[in-house]
Symmetry: C2
Subunit: 165 residues, 2 copies
Amino acid sequence: MSQPLSVPFLSGDHDHQACLSSALQAAEQICRRRNRRFTELRRKIFCLVWQQHKPVGAYQVLEILQREGRAAPPTVYRTLDFLQEMDLVHRIISLNAYIGCCQPGSRHDGQFLICEACHALAELNTPLVTSAVEATADRLDFEITRNMVEVLGLCPACRRKASSS
Amino acid sequence: MSQPLSVPFLSGDHDHQACLSSALQAAEQICRRRNRRFTELRRKIFCLVWQQHKPVGAYQVLEILQREGRAAPPTVYRTLDFLQEMDLVHRIISLNAYIGCCQPGSRHDGQFLICEACHALAELNTPLVTSAVEATADRLDFEITRNMVEVLGLCPACRRKASSS
DNA sequence: TTTGTAATGTTATAATATAACAATTCAGAA
DNA sequence: TTCTGAATTGTTATATTATAACATTACAAA
């Protein structure tokens, strides 16, 4: 397990380039293992999403693609669906947006802390939260297929800015 | 506190009429207390949403309104926003839909168990889940403004149906 | 009765997402 | 190598969800 369990809010010294290239390697491996093709289109969109380190909308992706030629919404949505299926990106429902997954290839829902001010996002996989939800569902005899936890608020940096103004 | 802390999946003997009329009374009281008008339009849409006991989309509400005369989307969205502001309905983000709130007038986010088969929904307010999320946010120095927990899966009834077929 | 604010109506359009079918690509079989 | 079927991508059209901008109406308090 070389992947971190969570991606907290990024610090200034984050190395985007290294981050992206290790994510790319992981993605290739996962697709190979599952016998799916990691095509040029998929690679391109994967990179677009991963490079942001922020939630990015389908139409934002589309716009970037269109700078280099024709492209239409279904292409983008299909590819994002594929990347989700491969557990390479997450969809953030409260934002209608996508973000790179910090544990590529492993089936998990994650919990997301989303900063309303700067739009930074932290992906967590906190067992405490997961098990609290599972225990509650169990108690009601409910069978979970997907567990969405999205928390809006202020990240540490924006909190400091807000309190100092 | 005469309101229940949660609305689990409804049993067969649920009395819709009584349920709606007590919700209506609560709604009137809350608006009066906050000096906001509970107009005819707001009352009508509140009733439409409450009567379903299921998540209902804005355009479904619109369609029902249009059976009795003209109506346009902004009217519906504005009214649903108002009802949310008064803590009378919840918005279910994963469904783009609305549902009556089981603790009208009290600020809370709730947790929702949503059946993918029959679209029944249970609203919970489980302290275990809430505090797990809060503890996690605290640990990262994140300030919560809204906490969305939506769980997709199978309700007890649909589980039984699924396993017996 | 006036008057200002809140509420609602109206028109147009933005933003998000998918259906349906055509064309292309590619790995493996022949 | 060529063929073939499945997977992938392209293309067109349209469905679904949501809001901007401004006009009109209703209502409470002066």
